[in-house]
Amino acid sequence: MKKKLLCVLLIVVMLATTVSLIACNKNSAGEANFVVPEGGYDGSAVTLKFYHTMGANLRAVLDTYIVEFNKIYPNITIEHEQVGSYDDVRTQISTEINVGAQPNIAYCYPDHVALYNVAGAVVQLDNLINSTEEGIGLSDAQKADFIQGYYNEGKQFGDEFMYTMPLSKSTEVLYYNKTFFDEHNLQLPKTWAEMEALCAQIKQIDPDCIPLGYDSEANWFITMCEQYGSPYTSATGDHFLFDNDTNKSFVKMFREWHKKGYVTTQEIYGAYTSGLFIEQVDTNSYMSIGSSAGATHQRPAKDETTGEYPFEVGITTIPQVNASNPKVISQGPSLCIFGKENPQEVVASWLFVKYLTTTVAFQAEFSMVSGYVPVIKSVGEHPAYANFINNADGGANIAALSAKVCLQQEAAYYTSPAFNGSSMARDEVGALMIKCLTENTNDVDALINSAFADAVDECEYNS
């Protein structure tokens, strides 16, 4: 048996060498620098595939507006499907790119686009945006209507080109127990320094509580980098720049907070921090930082007998390092377009992307159903949406309240550079944050130094 197994192995190795000598020619994924064909869209019949992650209720909204879109462009058929989660979309498309079977349009996060771009599969939108062909380009008014922070997300890929269009966005906001805050006459923290004092104050009122829960460790780290203006990553040159003294010092500061019992995160706590915030158990929190799109999870369940919410939820901006120069993260899906042999497919894809991102009615309805916020300012004047925002409260209409807070921060949005490996950096800093906040040691500086160095090593090895 032994000899034979070895023989087999040898044969397999030989076979392998033969095959490796055969040149492999793969389909090119299409031309990235797209040239708009003369005359723009020629009205020919094309079928577009659109991958997204929308649930049933959002698909219903989309279907309504596809009907509207087809009134303008009857020959463009949109076939859309939900491909599980964001990660599933990325895995599916990167496999399909391999044989040239990628869809036309997809929901994307910046690091996905960076990945597809290694193969040059994503179409640069600049020529389409600036096209003078009829119905193709964006007018100056249309461009100006976009919330700048969201629009600029499309250009964060280390070259000057635009690769994505924002569809709907969210950010992180601070949810607080307004009933409790009013009762004890507490002030909302504008800065992290005020937050520390506030946590100490709350701890005195309720020693068994954890005043603040932060949902995402990675967002926390990256947002702090941005607020301090210290390096995190770069899309060009050396990618991983987060191992620096400023970052180490804020991590050390939050470690002290954590040890004093001021703050916890989802991973450290071992359960949803929103659960900690809304539950009426022995331990709870009075503030919770989480996605503005998840507002309904931050609202306590109604009391069964009275039908009232046990407390009112307030929503405000997250604390800042410098309150006059606020920075908040920009999250949520964008759309990208894939290269195809037939330029008409690309132009048609663009028309649909343009339709979804610039149509006020669609943006308004999609936002109200999803809890995300629209990416164009003029939605604010849409009657239904304006009504939605005006009825915002900390109970039944909490989604509107979070959207309202989100919309007030339009100048504060930042995005991190996107490159192949940027999601790796995100994972690493999240893990680093947990490690540095929690691990027991006599030499905190040594722990922090080694954790940072290890995280950079890991990023560099895996990217």
Binding site: M54, G55, L58, S85, Y86, Y272, E279, V281, V369
Partner: protein
């Protein structure tokens, strides 16, 4: 070989009587502990199933509580209603049954033939070939996905029943299992059949398959369940709504509107909805087949 060792046993009547009283006491104790042991294992095995059911009866808010509840505070049935309406269960069920049944039958035929060759027939290079088959089980299959995707793409099989059935018809795992079972059947039976002029296939059908029936049933169950639970491959190659299998349809159907997270209670309800009939089918199926099988055993 353990045969014939116990062929002749001489016992004295007196000895039997002496030991029997002790045995009764032993038996009572033994039986008690055996049942205790089996019931503990049963509880442990049942726990996730129980969890699946209670999760499907919880509200989303209760499901997200940091202190998990072991019985829903408020039993709700609307998850089942939503599961029933949100996913196109009819199509998903139909596809899964077609793929499950066809691939199980084809796979059984191939497995039986292959195991028969390796257990009974003799030809040059047989052992090397078998070693090679075992060798294929040793490479992590994760790396096959992309190559196989390319292959089925080139063959034009995407979004067909073929792509869901054919690529994983052969499982060395089951061939090996059945070969072990076949090898326990004494050669003498085969030689006798040869003398009678029975053909190989007839012998396989009349003697070997009935004798190895418990193993074949195990394989059927495993293969069926495999088809039922497979996720990665179908998700990659059969994306069209009218080609999706139950796990794909179910995993993707229930996301929350706001965060895009999976709505687990609804998903659990959906899984419970489809697994309970499956489970009943299996109880029935197993009983039915076992009835027809001689329980005399292989050896002897």
């Amino acid at each position: 070989m353990a045969e014939n060792k116990k062929a002749t046993v001489i016992m004295h009547e007196r000895d039997i009587e002496k030991t029997s009283k002790l045995q009764v006491v032993n038996n009572v104790f033994g039986t008690f502990f055996r049942y205790l042991f089996l019931i503990i294992v049963a509880v442990v095995v049942l726990f996730p199933f129980y969890w699946m059911i209670i999760s499907s009866l919880k509200t989303l808010a209760e499901y997200r509580l940091s202190v998990p509840t072991f019985w829903p505070k408020q039993v709700v049935w609307y998850n089942y209603v939503e599961a029933f309406t949100a996913a196109n269960l009819g199509t998903l069920f139909k596809n899964t049954v077609i793929v499950g049944v066809v691939s199980t039958i084809l796979s059984l035929v191939i497995t039986v033939l292959t195991a028969f060759v390796f257990a009974r027939l003799e030809f040059k290079g047989k052992n090397a070939l078998f070693a090679m088959l075992l060798g294929t089980m040793m490479i992590p299959g994760e790396l096959f996905t992309i190559t196989n995707y390319e292959t089925v793409f080139r063959l034009g099989w995407l979004n067909t029943y073929t792509v869901l059935i054919v690529p994983f018809l052969v499982s060395v795992f089951y061939v090996y299992l059945l070969r072990q079972s076949f090898m326990q059947i004494p050669d003498s039976l085969y030689l006798a059949a040869k003398v009678d002029g029975t053909s190989d296939l007839k012998y396989l059908w009349k003697v070997m398959i009935p004798l190895a029936m418990p193993t074949i049933i195990s394989i059927t169950i495993l293969k069926m369940m495999g088809a039922w639970n497979s996720y990665m491959w179908p998700n990659l190659v059969a994306r069209d709504a009218d080609m999706q299998l139950i796990t794909n349809g179910l995993r993707n159907a229930f996301t929350e509107a706001t965060s895009g997270d999976t709505n687990f209670p609804v998903q659990m309800a959906a899984v419970a909805l489809v697994s309970i009939p499956l489970f009943l089918v299996f109880i029935f199926f197993r009983k039915y087949i076992m009835k027809g099988v001689s329980r005399s055993g292989i050896k002897g």
